[in-house]
């Protein structure tokens, strides 16, 4: 099936961030050693903003995994691979009302989850083949595959009467239990090419955990003053992005952190100016971390590097009339997958808790140019 074209022709709406800055905000922003300048591509607009949306990962070819309501009006979510050329639907059972992809590697392999009539099941899909439901742990009825590495190993969880249990799948669809902390429910959320898996193990609260090379679970801990944590992504060199989680309001609600597994350290990545809460969502092998933070201007996408600290992506892109609210993924080249929306002319830009619901969200890919 031919892939869908972008709603607004890609060539026309592909914007060179620096050029726009030049138009509106001279002088040009220069690339630093760590902070590139970006070409901004609007991949798609999410018009049905009252439905659930998944936009999760970007691979080295700047292809995006996700799912939301589009096309078929009988489904409330359709799994896809989104490229600069448009949507490529992942085929699935026509009877299902929901599917989404969560990750894709550089080898045309995708993982995600889809509803059967009675359960949510993890699946794997290869562009060379057809979707395959992943095997569950014995006795289980459902689960999700959240991540896949270039070896084709997938990570996620299997769920049933024994609770949610982290699991990983071989390319041959053999499922293996990742035993979590005692008396916990666990979910594997990220996997690197070495087979190191990170996720959460939940007792009274969430614990960020790692299963090094799919081995014994280790609690990654959290920041002082916080009770819990979650680990979402691990780079090939052992950097782990996630959040420290508190129980109440900012500044102890959520804080972006970076664990350096090889150094056994945890780093508070802070928050944007006048913000208190932040979440680190992804990290690449360059040590670049992306996520979202509150700020004096509302929720904003950020990039963090060791030298530059946390920066509002909007300040690096300078795309007039557009606000980037979340940076969801960063690939090994430093390209960033972000969510944003067009700024209404009447929208005040300070102190609001809410963004207007009635504004289509847009999916942007920021191509890094060092």
């Amino acid at each position: 099936m031919a892939s869908n074209r972008l709603r607004q022709g890609c060539a026309l709406c592909t914007l060179l961030g620096t050029a726009l800055l030049a138009l509106h905000h001279a002088p040009l922003l220069a690339a630093s050693a760590e902070m590139p300048v970006y070409e901004v591509y609007e991949y798609a607009s999410i018009e049905d903003y009252g439905t659930s949306v998944v936009i999760r990962n970007i691979n080295s070819f700047r292809e995006v995994a996700g799912g939301f309501k589009r096309g078929n009006p009988q489904k409330h979510s359709q799994a896809f691979i989104l490229t600069e050329n448009g949507f490529e639907d992942i085929p699935n059972d026509p009877g299902t009302d929901f599917s989404t992809s969560y990750d894709l590697n550089d080898r045309n392999e995708v993982v995600g989850a889809a509803n059967t009539l009675t359960a949510l099941r993890p699946f794997r899909y290869s562009r060379q083949g057809s979707p395959q439901l992943l095997t569950l742990l014995p006795g289980d009825s459902g689960g999700i595959a959240y991540a896949i590495n270039d070896q084709g190993e997938a990570a996620g969880y299997s769920s049933g009467e024994n609770g949610e249990q982290a699991a990983w799948w071989s390319r041959g669809n053999k499922v293996s239990l990742l035993r979590g902390l005692p008396e916990s429910n666990s979910r594997a959320l990220g996997i690197n090419d070495n087979g190191d898996i990170v996720g959460t193990s939940t007792t009274d609260f969430d614990h960020a955990v790692i299963w090094p090379n799919k081995g014994q679970v280790t609690d990654l801990g959290t920041l002082p003053g916080f009770t819990g944590s979650e680990a979402l992504s691990i780079s090939n060199n052992g950097n782990i992005a996630g959040s420290a989680i508190g129980t109440q309001a900012a500044p102890n609600f959520s804080r972006a952190v970076l664990w350096k597994w090889n150094e056994q350290t945890i780093l508070d990545l802070g928050a944007l100016e006048q913000g208190g809460d932040s979440r680190a969502i992804d990290v690449n092998d360059r040590g670049q971390v992306v996520g979202a933070s509150t700020s004096g201007h509302g929720g904003r996408a950020f990039i963090w590097t060791a030298n530059e600290g946390m920066r509002d992506l909007n300040s690096l892109v300078g795309l007039p009339g557009v606000i980037l609210t979340e940076a969801l993924s960063i690939n090994r080249q430093g390209d960033i997958l972000a969510i944003g929306h067009e700024q209404d002319a009447s929208e005040h830009d300070a102190g609001h808790d809410h963004q207007d619901h009635e504004r289509p969200r847009k999916i942007y890919v920021l191509r890094a140019r060092l």
Binding site: P73, K75, N115, D353
Partner: protein, 999 residues
Amino acid sequence: MMRSILRLCKRFAFQLLLIGCIWVPGPPLAFAGVPSVNGLWEKGPNFPFFPVHIHLLPNGKLMIWPGDEGISGNDPRSWDPATGLITQLSKPGYDIFCSGHLFLPDGRLFVAGGHIQNSVGLNDAAIYDPAADRWTRQPDMNLGRWYPTTQLLPNGDVVVISGDVNTSTGANPLPQVWQSATGTWRNLTNAQLKLPLYPYLFLAPNGKVFNAGPSIQTRYLDTAGTGDWTFVTNHVFTSRSRTYGSAVMYQPGKILSLGGGDPPTAVAEVIDLNVTGTPRWRSVAQMTHARRQMNATVLPDGQVLVTGGTKGAGFNNSSPGNPIFAAELWNPSTEKWTLMEEASVPRLYHSAAILMPDGRVMTTGGNGYTQTEFFSPPYLFAGSRPQITRAPSNVGRGQRFFIETPDAGSIDAVSFNRLGSVTHTTDMNQGVFRTTAITRSDSGITITAPNLTTVPNGHYMLFLLSKGVPSIAKIVRLDASATNNPVPVLASITPTSATAGGGGFTLTANGSGFNSASQVRWNGQDRPTTFVSSTQLRASISASDIANAGTAQVTVFNPAPGGGTSAAQTFTIISGDTGASKNLAPLGNIIARVPEPTGGGSKNIEIIRDGVKPAVGSTSSLQQYDTYDGANTATDDWIGYQFSSTQNFSRVVFQEGRHFGDGGWFTRLTVQVLQNGSWVEVSGLSVTPTYPNANNNTSYETYTLQFTPVSGNGIRIYGEPGGNADFISVGEIEVYGDEEPPSSSNPVPSLSTMTPTSATAGGGGFTLTANGSGFNSASQVRWNGQDRSTTFVSSTQLRAAIPASDIAAAGTAQVTVFNPSPGGGTSAAQIFTITSGDSGTPENLAPLGNIIARVATPTGGGSKDIEIIRDGVKPAVGSTNSLQQYDTYDGANTATEDWIGYQFSASQNFSRVVFQEGRHFGDGGWFTNLTVQVLQAGAWVTVSDLSVTPTYPNANNNTTYETYNMQFAPVSGTAIRIFGEPGGSADFISVSEIEVYGE
């Protein structure tokens, strides 16, 4: 512009027909504009923000909170329909915009999830207590939820489903059950499924949760254990999912799904989950308009009102011509739609609609619209509305209960509509029940409360319906924990005998365990019964019941749940041949001062001898004859019988009729007999009970007028009429002759209970309360046969002062009541136990002291006798009896403290107070904080280590007569009191009973 023209046409429909506006295209019925056909829209209050979440609280106020367009949801407020006031409520401390919510069975609002930013949800949960205006945080959910749906389960637990976690995760696939018993979450890990945001959930008859959309696929969720989904069936409408449509349970187990989708559809369909086998969706008539972002509301008459929405494609198409202003009404009998009047405000995304207790539907919001509107359905223009005079605030599941209404004869249905809790086109607190199984009496109706799985415990609007016209609702709590009906105890009846062939009469039953469902039975057959109090009933006994001499067994029956039949009391029907008289009334002609009255009573004077005697308190006007003939200044009034021959008279039984605002009673009365053309007053007249000679606000009371036998060819009740319009009222007059003079003898008293029943040897003197019957002012309480200083309270209660010397030593005492001659006698004895001082048995010190209170002369509705706080009578929780409690209402004020307790002549040891609160009124009757204080050396000192069990709510929890045990470190003093800050707008407290112990 076109719409403006249409509305103009509608307003002037008649004129426009004449000038040709009928050519303007548009939906034809929209122009009718007849409220009785198409309803009526009116503007409501203009709120300070457009509410996105609205809830009808058990106190009748509307709770609202905002969101979107830069406004945080952490700002709940209430709107009081009675006053129009908007009040800020306490804040939850986080943004509850985009949460899911419902009412728990106890009336608290459960809220799950919330807003971090668009599509990013909070994992918080909290409970809001409207009575205390307080939020209580619950444990966090597994992940965030933005746009989740909550559904109450039969056991009071709550299942939460769906809601977005964040953009990289999407919707939360794990259903979770909040367990009410522990306040913890149970994960349904065997039921992982991705559902759309704000899915439509319903409690199904099989106890499972039915997911009715918006997906095409519909499913059951079994919430037991780790959960399990079962596929049920697809919608009939399969071309697209019904996103931002709506679904309502319009009858138990029956769901209407309608509208929604992109582009929106007008298609509607129903499913009946009660069927055996697999339920299937079935198409019904389409709406006139396709709609999305609309609201559907179940009305008390069972119809479904649809308001607002847009017919345009896209998420929220508000461009001109797309919003739907006309409401539509769906009739579940015909399964067809009727177009209603047009609103003036578009109601799209973030709008809501909610049924109000007055039967109207309030519509609110839509982004940017702060102006509210009310829709009055056609039923509000279809005739006069029935009224609910009184209804219980709590009813048990399946319990028979009584609703007092002056319109009992016309009530043909009763409806329960659960209080709404609405957001994003979804009411998550649905529940509806309707019954036509109604038992009617003069003063009200009795029905059986719902006991269906689809009708969970909690608060409902109770509507009475007369030909489809609803009353204003009373908010009633359906409560699984409501106490089962007790087995009633029938201690005595009055009268205990009657003459065979006599007229009907009112029987008074005294005992305990009575409630509004209690029935007096005559030889096992129900008789029309009026509930007076938990210790008294009245029943109408017809003339046919005593037509023949013999005996009848009188019992009291309480229906299930619980319940049972009391032991019988024997009623004696004396033979008419033994000298008892027969009723002469049918032999004469009725005579009256006013033969052609012009008031509200029956115009047929024969009604005064038709044998029908309405129950005391009946408000029926047509079962009585009154002499109203316009406002006048008649100085005398009379009514009676004239005979063709001389008769012997000795007794008249006079049942009065209604007391109206301007008359219907005598200010004095006597009996006159016609002798040789002149009216002569009888001699030796005694009236039982004493006639009040005034308006005592009690209708249909019966009086026996006994006098020295006398002859004549006419007899009448004669006196001075009362009220501004000077008239009297008569339910029934019976005349007897040939009767032995009435005995003026005292009855033999009956002593059924006493309080206290024990005391500790060596303790102080106290007041003993004796309960029974046949007491009068000459009655004496006797302690081991010796008279004790006795106070006559009523014919059923005495109080006696028992000195300390009577309980100096352990043992027992025989307590009796003695009535002197003539007649009289001694009751059977009750045993009073004097326990050894060494036994450790706690002694209630209350009888030993003098009662003290901030307000000694209250002016409210409670008992004016402060002794009631130690009379030993403890009404059941939830009782609405005002007179079994003392409240310190002394007018609206701003008292900052209030107190009540006991003072003693000597120092006492205290360690515990048992406090039974009285009634909660609309404006007070509770503490907002309380403690216990002891008087030491003239100063009040707060006790230490006070613990109150159960926890005192420090607020109006809308529950009366709850008992609290207040334990504290032992302390001595000469007085003790409960002290604190009074609650409510009138700042007062209420007390049913206070016991003080020093163990």
